[in-house]
Symmetry: C2
Subunit: 416 residues, 2 copies
């Protein structure tokens, strides 16, 4: 796309009340807009990143057999009363509102109740199981403090997967599959090295649940990391008994701040029993369905990428999530530079390479600053200077050095 | 996809409290689930249709230069007070809720205020205009009655496009472009012939706005149609003056029930003035931006397609919106039918033809009934009978007749 057509402009300063690095950079670069504390809008560049992250997650969910659905935000209180979660004392981040006839309804902060209710219409016998469904849906949480930019918001897109089984063994097996898929997701979005699968407290149905935590100084969570063994443990389960079970010593653990980027949880029959989701087994017995739930917030992931991968000049997007593959900057004002830049732009588009083309009449310094702030992985520059050598300058956002290459070489590098 | 893996099951009966044909059929066929009156969940088949409709709309919006964004549901009341629309007496379908500190916030029923506020950060001079942005976002409307299935709901996905201009002429020109794009959208989703661009009441900034109305006995709107001239007029603007202006006589108009499937509206400076969205013109003057807004509800469109295109056996999806291109039914239980059906399924997938493969062990009558109910345009049947002739049966959902063809012919027909 031509940058002159993009309606967003970069800014030198973030809003004064915005204290988080991720939102400061994303607002300055024109990726998001702050509607109010803890509520953000996604502008074209931000939506492209969000969709790239969603597509990575979608691919991995489809690979493990997930079927995509889209559930409502508005929630009838009936199911939540049956599971004991309607009360504001149990779920303390409810947003509630009312129908015209004064009936109270809720805004979903999660969808276990709704999913379980739906499945009661589609599951009859053991033959109908197992299966898994997922969605990308806005969740609403009435957070008291919302100062972490897009990492903790009052409204956010969540990918939530739910699985349905006849036995604990079958759930255990699928749970491991999801864990592997999650690891792939964090690798693909560029957070593989800094993200740990950590032991967190379980529930009635399993000793542990697991979180995926990305090490970051701005994280709200504290975890204890065994760097050699790549094991991490949440504070809440850091007991001598657990340490012994995991075969690690407290002395080898390092305390780290971290951001929770995903969690996986064995629900067992916590929801299927009160909501009567059952199946008839092969010997004619009625049994409750065994469930698991698995969450990742694409927006929080985007914020975590910005927190983890940025420098004093701006954002550094990993290849798979970048809003564009290439940022093409035309610096010269002469006819020749215009001609060559337009041609290269057309060539790149012909090869289906997604390119942001800075065709604006601005000073080179402004264009370079914008390019570093926006953070596309590859920058190409066409200027009178590069044209004198019949070359194009290529620079990677992760490297301080640039290089002069021919047009053929550019196309070859970018087609890889 | 293999139908044995699809978690949804068809039903013989819709819920007793569901009075609309669209929701009855969509629930029976497993496309949607009713969360409560006026609130529905999209299950895998339903979400596929919804996404197909969204993608058609997205393509047409991109063609006219729309830039996609994604705005929040939660709304700060400040902007709505400035435009005089915060009061429940002005907007009588508000859902409101509260932050922990008792601050009242709203759930967006539309996004003029939010869009206008954002643009004030990105528009400075005439050079920054014109442009247009759109989104697909959940809207919330506290409807008193919600008995039209997915056509009038309390929560629904809306495509809303907003355009920003320096002059009325520029707005007028873009408004015509949107009108053409809308006509293409209704054609592509299979409603071209029954959808009219109708004259509706305007506002301060134009004599008329326009709605797109699809003729349907279940429509909530009444319009007056000049069938020869393909002109339609809403009741509210049916005056002698307007008739004279359009050059039509009242006697030639036929009254029809219709469903509003889209609307386009010239906002002028209705929002830019109170929310101070202005630009500096070439001669240094500060001027308010001229705006337009344009809506289509993909869910309502889906409901309208079902209302318009169905028979007593079920839904009849047009090609571009169908959840799958082909429904492949294996009827025989012998090894040969299993082998041939599996091979054909693999061949179709290799050609990237989206196929639902009914591989379940059910009686032929059940499979035929499900196939008619679900409504995929092309049905292929492999049975012991067709195999005896070394053929495959092909039948179009719109035709009562079937035909026996070779495997090569099937591939040829479907690759078109």
């Amino acid at each position: 796309m031509r940058q002159s057509h993009l309606f967003t402009k970069t800014r030198k300063e973030a809003p004064a009340d915005e204290v988080s690095k991720n939102a400061q950079l994303l607002i300055r670069a024109g990726f998001i807009h702050k509607e109010m504390a803890g509520v953000y809008d996604y502008l074209p560049l931000g939506l492209k990143v969000l969709e790239n992250i969603k597509n990575i997650i979608r691919e991995e969910m489809n690979t493990i057999g997930g079927q995509e659905v889209f559930l409502s935000t508005l929630q009838d209180k009936d199911a939540w009363e049956k599971t004991g979660r309607w009360s504001d004392e149990v779920i303390d981040i409810w947003f509630k509102t009312k129908l015209k006839n004064d009936t109270e309804i809720g805004l979903a902060s999660t969808h276990e109740e709704a999913m379980t209710k739906i499945m009661a219409h589609h599951v009859q016998s053991a033959k109908d199981l197992p299966f898994s469904v997922y969605q990308f849906q806005n969740k609403f949480r009435n957070e008291t403090r919302a100062k972490s930019g897009i990492m903790r918001t009052r409204e956010f897109i969540m990918k939530d997967l739910y699985s349905f089984h006849t036995s604990q063994e079958d759930l255990d097996e699928y749970y491991e599959k999801v864990s592997v898929a999650y690891t792939r997701i964090f690798e693909r979005v560029g957070l593989g090295e800094s993200t740990y699968k950590t032991f967190a407290s379980g529930g009635i149905f399993s000793k542990f649940s697991h979180e995926f935590q990305t090490i970051s100084d701005t994280g709200e969570d504290t975890m204890y990391v065994h760097e050699d063994k790549k094991i991490a443990v949440n504070k809440e389960v850091l007991t001598n008994e657990v340490l012994a079970e995991l075969g690690i010593s407290r002395n080898d653990l390092v305390e780290k701040k971290a951001i929770e980027v995903g969690n996986i949880f064995k629900l067992g029959t916590r929801f299927s029993e009160p909501l009567e989701l059952s199946y008839v087994s092969e010997n004619g017995e009625k049994k409750p369905v065994i469930m698991g739930s698995y969450g990742i917030g694409p927006g929080r992931l985007m914020g975590t990428i910005v927190e983890s991968l940025s420098d004093d000049k701006g954002i550094i997007w990993p290849k798979e999530v970048s809003p564009f593959a290439v940022h093409l900057l035309r610096l010269g004002t002469g006819e020749e530079s215009l001609k060559v830049a337009n041609e290269l732009y057309a060539d790149l588009r012909k090869k289906s390479i997604d390119v942001l083309y800075d065709d604006r009449d601005l000073r080179p310094g402004e264009k370079f600053a914008d390019s570093d702030l926006i953070g596309i992985p590859v920058r190409l520059v066409i200027s009178d200077k590069t044209l004198a050598e019949n070359k194009i300058e290529i620079k990677y956002r992760t490297s301080p050095d640039s290089e002069l290459v021919t047009r053929e070489e550019v196309m070859k590098i970018l087609s890889q």
